[in-house]
Amino acid sequence: MVDVARTHAQGSLTAGRMEAFRTRALRWGGIVRDTLRNPTTAIGLAILTVIFAMAIFAPLIVAENPQGAMQMPRDWGAPNMPPGSPDHPLGTTPQGGDVLYGIVWGARTSLRLALTVVGITVLIGIAMGSIAGFLGGKWDEMVMRLVDVFLSIPELIFALAIAAALGPSFGNIILALAVVFWVKYARIMRGQILQIKQNEYVDAAYVVGESKWNVYRKDILPNSLTPIVVQATLDMGHVVLIGATLSFIGLAEAGLAEWGNLVSEGQSGIAAGMWWVATFAGGMVFLWSLAFNLVGDGLRDVLDPRTERR
């Protein structure tokens, strides 16, 4: 810090911006370092890196299906091929679908599902939770009663009902999950805001003449987000698990390159000893959920203000 002090003593205030950037970077660097220091979190991140790479570079691994990228190509002449076959390294389904294609392009489907659903629900949840917690009173009452209605129905059943009512399509699964999942974030956000509001720095901000909106933006929001980040990470895994469940029972388009769909196609063959379809696809769902759970737990430890390094 001595050299920094000297820089300032020389009077260069633009150096201040560098210093501000440096302090912020050090803080984030510390968080990243603490996250990676935990071996289970590192394992989770490693798994995610592989799966994300698979999703992003899908066309380089398996050529895109000319009938539609998200559609599994059908090789009607070669159903039930075991893994290791020359054209189908991971085998085929009873309908001749290429398992490798389903796995690799299914990663894209899962990523799209998770990012869309978590993105939408986090935004809705933060908005609703903020209305309830920050505005309070009548608003709080209204939002929380709505939340109670949503919470009274189990999320899987609720999502299933909505998706079934809207008809079998993957877009509808996304919509159904978005409708169901925001509630959790609204509750977390409200609780956080009620707690953060008690801090004297919120009063201090009002005292120095800050507007309500600025207090929300600069004091309340940034200090409320930690548990939302953790929950969102955990839900990235959870959403894919439920999405796979819904498409497994046939709520996605038939033949969609999606892991749940793949398990569904392969289930008829399991009894006959054709294990590979359900195992590879199910394994991907498992790895995906596991990885996000590991990372989510790691983030919880690092971001928890009680354990955050001072």
Binding site: M1, V4, A5, H8, A9, L13, T14, G16, E19, A20, R22, T23, R24, R27, N199, E200, Y201, D203, A204, A205, Y206, V207, V208, G209, E210, S211, N214, K218, D219, P222, N223, P305, R310
Partner: protein, 464 residues
């Protein structure tokens, strides 16, 4: 900044400069909700009718036990809370203040329409919860707060530059390098420096954090600051540094302070005037030295007796000798429930020198009997007609007779026994009637020395 230039630097001339703040009959009640329907079942009377002035350039100390409403009052004065009743007036010239007091002493129905209009004008012009946008901004700029907990009063995700520069930004005073430059000046004013600009609050010690808090409060160049226990969370050595800093700043900038604390030594060191609060009301208010040497309220005396004062002060040593001769007043019992405060003088339930006219009520009869171990056995119901008139029902007639004997032959609760004006028993019930007593007013018994103790306001003092 004309306000700054006209600010005199000599605090001894305080009397001529009017008041920064006038608090008039301020009340803050919090509803207690109960039942399924969340109906209001009562009110916690956190602040219950407080009136005092804060003269420009001076320091007014506000003391009392925790839970007496001093922090709530501080928040009312700093505009963080709106009062249930009464108001806080800011920057009122002396002539207008006199006019306001004159008008407020008139009952509402006796005011002429001209007087009512005048009162309205004064209220709209100076009461902080009625100010228009522009006036409110001026008030906001001139009234700043230093909070008690230096750990929670700084946003953990902001850098010191942003924390201290925030008031300047909110008021559109500076930005960019000019803001940074100004923040450096402010930091230097509180004993910090350039090297602290780009750090997070958690990188500082408690004392340094409180300095940052003070720098932030100074940023808008205010004339008045509410110091809400600014040192109570600090080590003693650091405490002294912060107090000295506040002292110096006051001298340099001609600041006016409201200093809230539970520590009498600190208040004595800091304040020109002291206001002692008990259960939401002012018990005693006087110039600092008078309050400490010529105390006129047993509650203040009890606080002084409970205060571990330093022996190096000759005066204190003398006080200690006196205290050994006379009977020391000690605080006994617990603070009554502010949702249901005692009638009359609020301190009478714990007061060692209470007399019959302090406001003894039916609740006291039940409480004292219970506290003295002679519980009113078999008491099944208390039917109150007023706080001073009730029928106590017992399970059987012998139990009622026993209770009557107990109340008649009561030993230690002398003043309460004197306050009982009727005590009759019929069948299984006992009628108790006590001398009714309204609120005890705060009376100026000596120049600038106000007390609410009836012994001084009605009996001319007491001998401890």
């Amino acid at each position: 900044m004309t306000a700054f230039e006209t600010r005199p630097t000599d605090p001894s001339a305080a009397a001529d400069r009017g008041d920064v703040i006038n608090v008039r009959g301020v009340r803050k009640y919090y509803p207690i909700k109960g039942g399924v329907l969340q109906r209001v079942t009562g009110h916690v009377k956190a602040v219950d009718g407080v009136t005092f002035d804060i003269p420009r350039g001076s320091t007014v100390g506000l003391v009392g036990e925790s839970g007496c409403g001093k922090t709530t009052l501080g928040r009312l004065i700093s505009g963080l809370l709106d009062p249930t009743d009464g108001g806080v007036y800011f920057g009122m010239p002396a002539a207008e203040r006199r006019r306001l007091d004159e008008l407020m002493t008139l009952p509402a129905e006796e005011r002429t329409s001209q007087q009512a209009t005048d009162l309205q004008t004064l209220t709209d012009g100076y009461r902080i919860d009625r100010l228009n946008r522009e006036q409110r901004r001026a008030y906001r700029r001139n009234c700043q707060v230093v909070f008690q907990d230096a750990f929670s009063s700084l946003n953990p995700r902001q850098l010191v530059r942003d924390i201290v520069g925030r008031p300047l930004k909110a008021f559109g005073e500076a930005s960019g390098d000019a803001l940074t430059q100004r923040v450096v000046e402010l930091l230097e004013q509180v004993g910090l420096g350039r090297q602290h600009l780009f750090r997070y609050p958690h990188q500082f010690s408690g004392g340094q954090r409180q300095r940052i808090s003070i720098a932030r409060a100074l940023a808008l160049d205010p004339e008045f600051m509410v110091l809400d226990e600014p040192t109570s969370a600090l080590d003693v050595s650091v405490q002294a540094q912060i107090l000295n800093l506040l002292h110096e700043l006051q001298r340099e900038l001609g600041l006016t302070y409201l200093f809230i604390s539970h520590d009498l030594n600190v208040v004595r060191h800091m304040s020109d005037e002291v206001v002692v609060m008990y259960l939401g009301q002012v018990a005693e208010a006087a110039p600092s030295e008078r309050l400490f040497t010529a105390t006129k309220h047993p509650y203040t005396e009890a606080l002084l007796a409970a205060n571990p004062s330093d022996d190096e002060d000759a005066e204190d040593a003398e006080d200690a000798e006196d205290a050994e001769d006379a009977e020391v007043i000690r605080l006994a019992g617990s603070v009554p429930d502010p949702a249901n405060p005692p009638q009359g003088c609020r301190f009478h339930t714990r007061c060692p020198v209470a007399v019959a006219s302090c406001g003894w009520e039916v609740d006291d009869v039940v409480r004292v009997a219970t506290e003295e171990g002679a519980s009113l056995e078999g008491l099944s119901d208390v039917e109150r007609r007023t706080p001073f008139d009730a029928t106590l029902r017992f399970e059987s007639e012998p139990l009622a007779q026993a209770a009557l004997r107990m109340l008649r032959s009561d030993g230690r609760s002398g003043p309460m026994a004197d306050a009982i004006i009727r005590l009759e028993h019929s069948g299984d019930s006992v009628d108790v009637v006590l001398r009714p007593r309204g609120d005890v007013p705060l009376v100026e018994v000596e120049p600038q020395h106000r007390t609410s103790c009836v012994l001084f306001t009605e009996y001319g003092g007491y001998t401890a």
